[in-house]
Symmetry: C2
Subunit: 323 residues, 2 copies
């Protein structure tokens, strides 16, 4: 049988080159680059809340890191180090060693891509709970904050919105997608792409940024509250996949677009003078970047229809403690 | 009813002065002191494993931070920033708001004592799981590692060992302590003291250090393995409270002393030439520091009785996935 130390040594301990000291002591040691600031964030994935109990462990390992990378992207930080706090059911460790191997493979596939090092963590027995802590570097004073949206800024989003929530609705039986359609949407839910490079390249171009984890309205709302500003967005300008477009008139699908969450695209605000540079960045990175609205003074977020009329919406972002 | 954001704002969000940006954005921002190294560690407390479901929330908040502070102490690092990842049962949030208030009060009582700032975290619904990530500063190249024990080093421990395990055995009904005795031992289990200042003062005096969380034999064993050394310790030299001394001959109590864990005292090795300085430090900090053995070449840990004979022991430290 596998011990706590076996688990760490077999699946997670690797030599480190970008840290002073990795896994195996009371703490890891890193030597930050002189003059930078460190961005530090943590996200937890709970079985039955953030993923189904039978989730593929490889994809789960991948996604657990991706959602944390997304927080670094939203700050414009370069992710460098990561810690992993795993709470694992004893049965899982005893009976399904392939789970740990799959999880670790998925985790390191993404970590290696971004040359991020796992420098520490913790393994305990209990209800399945995956916590990741991520540390990145950003030039002092340059991080993209939620609170810096300026009057007349354009509001942009990266990629396409809503497919993760659409796939989830299908999995929950709230709507029925065609097999080719679900195949097209499912990667957005299971293996989301964090916009790590985009985030770093937006420094100097964008005033504020957030990643879309709770849904477009909730997350853009966080920018507005933190910046003390209002905004309008055009419903028809929100970029979506051809699958979502097909069902767009259904209210459950409209909800995916505005409040779905789990997209991990970036929403950012930038001065109008940077439109051309942002379009060029979009072409260079081959990531769609779409203007969907504008910051103005006051408070609140107004969603407008194709005719420019304010829509009446009953929508809110995901909150773990609201029913 | 309380939302995820309400919980953070009501109980955990405070203004920060020692960080560039605290709770409320995609990541926290810190500006490390030039030329230092950062020590980073994480520890998780799981309900039913690390604490009883009816544990006093104030003491639990206190202990959750204390066990993480202890990791900083063991590196000789000065703790500065902390993140908190709370997974909370929905029922607890809905029906027992006093729990959150108590937990947060206990947590901040200790954080304030050490002037540590809570800069980020995460709150999700699920089985009760308390994760803390702690970040400290240590002069570059000076951290106390497990791997630096040297031949002929003395082996020292701080404080008194075994009371936490003794109290736990009482709570589990494995032995019956007198009410005044359990009152004396229980604080070691519920509100342990991390040796934060001692750890920092041991830099330059000690070669290696670890905190006693898994038990003396297991943790000293980690130093020996990492340093490629062997050691002997005298059973009778291990410092313990008068309560533990009284029951010391019982095998369950001997086990508390050698393998109990949860002590959060420091075990460190230091050259013999520093004996006087360490005794003076002990007097200055009013913390007992006791020599219990010596490092020699080879491998393995030998426990000797009062006559100097090697004892035969069936003992191992705590492992979450071993029965």
């Amino acid at each position: 049988m596998c011990s706590e130390f076996d688990i760490i040594h077999r699946y997670f301990k690797r030599s480190v080159s970008g840290a002073v000291l990795g896994i195996g002591d009371d703490a890891a040691l890193i030597a930050p680059t002189t003059g930078i600031e460190l961005a530090i964030s943590t996200d937890t994935l709970v079985c039955g809340k953030h993923f189904f109990p039978d989730a593929d462990p490889y994809k789960l390992g991948y996604k657990s890191l991706a959602v944390n990378l997304s927080d670094m992207a939203a700050m414009g930080a370069k992710p460098r180090w990561v810690l992993l706090t795993l709470t694992l059911p004893e049965d899982l460790v005893k009976q399904n060693i392939a789970w740990l191997s799959g999880f670790s493979d998925g985790f390191f596939a993404l970590a290696d891509w971004y040359q991020i090092e796992l420098i520490g963590g913790n393994t305990t027995a209990g209800a399945l709970n995956i916590g990741i802590q991520i540390i990145g570097e950003v030039a002092a004073g340059k991080a993209l904050r939620r609170s810096d949206a300026k009057l007349d800024d354009d509001i942009w989003v990266s990629g396409k919105i809503g497919d993760a929530a659409l796939a989830l609705q299908h999995e929950l039986g709230q709507l029925a997608l065609h097999p080719t359609e679900i195949e097209q949407c499912l990667p957005a839910l299971l293996t989301p792409i964090a916009r790590v490079e985009l985030g770093q390249r937006l420094i100097g171009l964008a005033h504020s940024a957030i990643d879309l984890s709770d849904g477009l309205m909730a997350d853009l709302g966080h920018i507005l509250t933190a910046s003390g500003k209002a905004a309008w967005i055009y419903m028809t300008d929100i970029p979506c996949s051809s699958v979502l477009e097909k069902y767009r008139q259904q209210s459950v699908v409209m909800n995916c677009l505005l409040a779905g969450g789990d997209d991990y695209e970036l929403c950012f605000t930038a001065p109008k003078i940077n439109r051309r540079k942002i379009d060029m960045l979009s072409a260079e990175l081959a990531i769609p970047l779409t203007r969907i609205g504008e910051i103005y003074s006051g408070e609140g977020l107004s969603v407008r229809d194709a005719q420019g009329n304010a829509m009446t919406l009953e929508i809110r972002g995901y909150d773990h403690f609201r029913s």
